[in-house]
């Protein structure tokens, strides 16, 4: 974690001192090296269980698992960030985020092939926050991590090279609502603190049974903190930002964000609710039941009517959050393992899917309208097949990672006594299959649109990233054993 933060800091310095033409290479290498080094460190730490940093950071199975996953996913995301081929020499980001779209200044920068390199330090900082988030062992560290991971993302969202207005708008919406949610989180935290007299989860847990008469305070606090965290997850009814932001943000960032933020947020949520508030689970379980059902249903039902591929994936991501929540209400190790696995599996799929979206382009940039995807299977079967694979994984068809994920999650939920949730989940998955399959139909069975989009030939960066995503999807679908074992071993929080 410190390695990543360090890399972020060094990245800023690089930004400051290295001349422009070397910046990109240096930043990419730095980012990748840092992520790899951090991953090695996480692996070396495997199995340790300590509470460090004066009690505010807990290194345990779930934390390490999620940190490792975040690192791997971020590593792949960096591949996409580094892609320069599809935008004729530039990457997918505006050369200078502050320049006015269409202004002289921008034109010059584009001509110069100026590259946006600040994305790397920014994403390093975000990754650092994501690593801290699931490891945070007190309310303060959790809040700090929440912000550290969010703030760079807000900015990253506004940096798209094409469709700048959309992108900036996404950034603003994300920012306003995100800040709103973190306001809820911290206010709720203050109530919980007021109730328990301590910030540390273990002590909060201890206080749950000890203090009576102030449950109102506690529950209000828990509710508000849940709002903050559910927002990050994109659960209904706090999901309103997701489609807008996913659509508006540069697709690479969307991929990164969709995969990694969800991961980190679920990790944090598990720690908060399991470790800190495990004692009052009967109080918060009904709430999460309702949220889970609403999330699944709304996510899928609204996704049905989408015509933009990024929005559709956004709603699907909301729904997947709902699936994970079904397991969340079953508080046991099986559930933790299931969630961990699902998150990892989902991360790879999402990354891959969004990366494919970056490749389908027309004159105006990415062609995200569904009608433009018609007949893609004829024109570039390999790409369409890959995307089809990701869609099938999202739909949870067997032999893909999505299926195993769903299986584990529903198993956990079922065992935790949440059978109605499982049934809703299953019904909703069936509906979900409809729109995933619809895209496949469109790609393979429709005649190509006459002036349809072209598929950009990516450089080795994106190709490698998508390939990793696809391979992971299949491997986790066919041979999920090792990762499942790992998740199971990791599924124990320390207090």
């Amino acid at each position: 974690m410190i390695i990543v933060f360090g890399a972020g800091v060094v990245g800023v310095l690089v930004e400051a001192f290295v001349p422009r033409r070397f910046r990109h290479a240096v930043q990419v290498i730095l980012a990748l090296a840092a992520l790899a080094a951090a991953f090695v460190q996480v692996v070396r730490l495997g199995g340790t269980e300590i509470i460090g940093a004066v009690g505010s950071v807990a290194i345990d199975g779930p934390a390490l698992f999620l940190q490792g996953t975040v690192l791997v996913l971020a590593f792949i995301s960096m591949f996409f960030f580094a892609e320069r081929r599809i935008e004729a020499g530039g990457n997918a980001f505006a050369p200078a985020a502050s320049s006015l779209p269409g202004s002289e200044e921008e034109r010059v920068l584009v001509q110069q092939r100026a590259l946006q390199t600040e994305i790397y330090p920014l994403s390093m900082l975000a990754v650092g926050g994501m690593m801290l988030f699931p490891a945070a062992n007190d309310l303060l560290a959790m809040f700090v991590a929440l912000e550290v991971l969010s703030l760079p993302l807000y900015i990253l969202c506004g940096m798209a090279r094409r469709r700048r207005l959309l992108s900036q708008e996404a950034a603003m919406k994300y920012f306003l609502l995100g800040a709103f949610a973190s306001g809820f989180f911290i206010f709720g935290a203050s109530f919980v603190y007021g109730f328990a007299g301590s910030l540390e989860f273990a002590e909060i847990d201890a206080a749950l049974g000890a203090r009576v008469g102030q449950e109102g305070l506690l529950l209000a606090g828990v509710g508000m903190m849940a709002v903050g965290l559910l927002f990050k997850i994109g659960a209904v009814p706090f999901h309103a930002w997701t489609p807008d932001v996913y659509q508006g943000a540069p697709t690479q960032v969307t991929a990164f964000m969709a995969a990694c933020t969800k991961l980190a947020a679920f990790g944090a949520m598990m720690r908060l609710f399991y470790v800190g508030l495990g004692g009052i689970r009967t109080d918060w379980q009904p709430m999460l039941w309702a949220v889970a059902i609403a999330t699944m249903v709304v996510g899928i039902v609204v996704a049905l009517s989408q015509t933009d591929i990024k929005r559709m994936l956004a709603y699907s991501s909301i729904a997947h959050g709902g699936f994970i929540l079904t397991a969340f209400v079953a508080v046991d190790e099986l559930a933790i393992a299931a969630i961990l696995f699902y998150l990892a599996a989902y991360g790879f799929v999402t990354l891959g899917a969004f990366a494919v979206v970056t490749l389908v382009r027309d004159a105006g940039g990415e062609a995200t309208h569904l009608s433009k995807w018609a007949g893609l299977g004829r024109r570039s079967p390999l790409l369409a097949a890959t995307f089809g694979l990701f869609l099938l994984a999202l739909a949870g068809i067997p032999l893909t990672s999505g299926f195993v994920g769903k299986l584990t999650v529903f198993t956990a939920a079922f065992q935790g006594g949440a059978m109605p949730l499982v049934i809703v989940g299953v019904l909703v998955s069936a509906v979900a299959a409809f729109f995933y399959v619809r895209v496949i139909v469109l790609m393979f069975f429709s005649d190509p649109a006459p002036e349809g989009p072209t598929v950009a030939v990516p450089s080795v960066w994106t190709t490698a990233g998508i390939a990793v995503g696809a391979v992971a999807t299949i491997v986790l679908g066919v041979l999920p054993g090792p990762l499942l074992d790992l998740a199971e071993q990791a599924a124990l929080f320390i207090r």
Binding site: L166, F175, L176, I186, F187, F191, Y193
Partner: protein
């Protein structure tokens, strides 16, 4: 020390803030409302810290302040950016992203 009155104040501030975010159409105002929410949280933390006779609540308030500052910086950057591109800071004008 009885924190009730402080809590009531904090809650009122928080409600005002959240109301502001939801109701005001100007991005800057909404954004300031968010800051108000954070400060309400600060107040609550400090009040509770007094109640428990512990310092950690106050320390949290410090951190919240930094984070609020960081948010200000980021938020202003984004809002100014939008303002420059479209010469308006109204949330309603930013409506390219619709369902």
């Amino acid at each position: 020390m009885n924190p009730t009155s402080y809590l009531v104040l904090a809650t009122i501030l928080f409600t005002l803030g959240s109301g502001g975010v939801l109701l005001r159409r100007n991005a800057l105002v909404a954004f300031m409302s968010v800051e108000l929410m954070l400060n309400a949280a600060n107040l609550a933390f400090v009040a509770f810290a007094r109640m428990h006779g512990a310092l950690d609540g106050q320390i949290v308030a410090f951190f919240v302040m930094i984070i609020a500052a960081a948010e200000v910086v980021i938020g202003l950057a984004i809002i100014v950016m939008i303002f420059r591109t479209r010469r308006s800071a109204s949330v309603d004008d930013a409506s390219l992203l619709k369902l």
